[in-house]
């Protein structure tokens, strides 16, 4: 039986979709059977980031409404055959997603895949709630700045109260993924420290993803960054995060500025 993972944040544009694709591909590369689901109805983007936009025929709503079989809507990745995508609908109304329908689709996916990764829409409304509802674990994507941390705190509260597990009195494992971390600004003390974010949110750290042009390049091409350039700094951080999700103990490396003096000293080891 597979695990359901929600990638969520509250705040928009912090890197949920990027992280869903990168972690999904990293897990799939490690031999796991992975499906990533886009819950952003009306504003789908995971298909673009994964490079599958030309191949979308059916979507989550078609499956929920019984217009298509699950197997027909799943898009198998062309690069890794253990990675699949279930796209969101671009045209339908998001109210077409019903709780029962979503629960049924997720249950079916759990039978087939080791990991069911749900890319949540921004916000704290219905769409975000549906995305987190069936989660066994959650990755809370946070940028090191005040409004993102505040929204993450809000989302953590919802993970603890509005998920199926929470309703049954069970725990849901929550991990913090700090993204768009800028080593130069960190060195100049212009950015919230990861330690401070961790202390405020008090959930375990899954990883620190540096701000990197490799992320933009990968999305231009339509490939998860972990496939497009596996040796880049953000990819290494995502690969480590994926291993931690699998329960391995991997030391967290704080990205450093390669150009700075400290970076030159430690660059080879940490960047």
């Amino acid at each position: 039986m597979g695990k359901v993972l929600v990638v969520t944040s509250g705040k928009g544009g912090v890197g949920k979709t990027t992280s869903t694709a990168a972690l999904g591909a990293a897990l799939a590369r490690g031999g796991e059977n992975v499906v990533v689901i886009d819950f952003d109805v009306g504003l789908r983007n995971l298909d673009l980031v994964m490079g599958a936009e030309r191949r979308v025929v059916f979507d989550l709503i078609n499956v929920v409404q019984g217009d298509a079989k699950l197997a027909q809507a799943l898009i198998r990745d062309k690069r890794i055959d253990t990675l699949s995508l279930l796209p969101a609908s671009q045209t339908r109304d998001k109210d077409a997603l019903t709780i029962e329908g979503v629960d049924k689709v997720i249950a079916e996916l759990k039978e087939k895949f080791d990991w069911v990764i749900c890319d949540s829409p921004a916000g704290i409304e219905r769409g975000a709630l549906l995305a987190m509802r069936n989660a066994d674990l959650a990755v809370v994507v946070t940028n090191p700045e005040v409004s993102s941390v505040r929204d993450s705190d809000r989302i953590i509260g919802m993970l603890d109260s509005k998920t199926l597990r929470a309703e049954k009195g069970e725990r849901i494992d929550k991990f913090l993924l700090v993204t768009r971390y800028d080593p130069q600004r960190a060195a100049r003390n212009e950015m919230l420290k990861v330690d401070d974010v961790l202390e405020i949110l008090s959930i375990p750290l899954l990883g620190i993803i540096p701000e990197s042009e490799e992320v933009l390049k990968a999305s231009n091409i339509g490939s998860p960054v972990t496939l497009n350039n596996p040796n880049s700094a953000p990819s290494k951080a995502y690969f480590d995060a994926a291993r931690r999700l699998k329960g391995e103990t991997v030391e967290v490396v704080v990205p450093m500025d390669r150009k700075g003096f400290m970076g030159r000293l430690f660059g080879r080891r940490v960047a």
């Binding site: 673009l48 030309r54 191949r55 025929v57 059916f58 078609n62 027909q72 231009n220 091409i221």
Partner: protein, 97 residues
């Protein structure tokens, strides 16, 4: 980085532009806004079902949106021992008036 490298380097922005142009052309078109694919599927399957009974799971549908045309592939697995469906009443030979 030499001037030569700058020209040789494969940049990603043109790839992004091409992908977006194709995608948006489809999303803006009338066809892109309708459920045409779903309707086509239903009708094609209905035609097939008139003659043989096929399992919905044995139908694979693939689409590739291109710059000037798309290809729609419908794969129906028809087993050798497929049951010949009874023509639904009303279909087939029209009743004489």
């Amino acid at each position: 980085m030499s001037l030569f490298d700058i020209f040789r380097k494969r940049t990603t922005a043109p790839v992004a532009r091409d992908r977006l142009q194709v995608l948006l052309a489809h999303e803006r078109s009338v066809i892109g806004k309708s459920d045409l694919i779903a309707i086509l599927q239903e009708e094609i399957l209905a035609v097939i079902a008139k003659h043989i009974s096929v399992d919905r799971d044995a139908v694979q549908i693939k689409l590739d949106r291109g710059a000037s045309f798309s290809t729609l592939e419908i794969d129906v697995e028809v087993p050798l021992n497929a049951k010949v469906a009874k023509p639904p009443t009303g279909a087939g030979v029209p009743a004489s008036a």
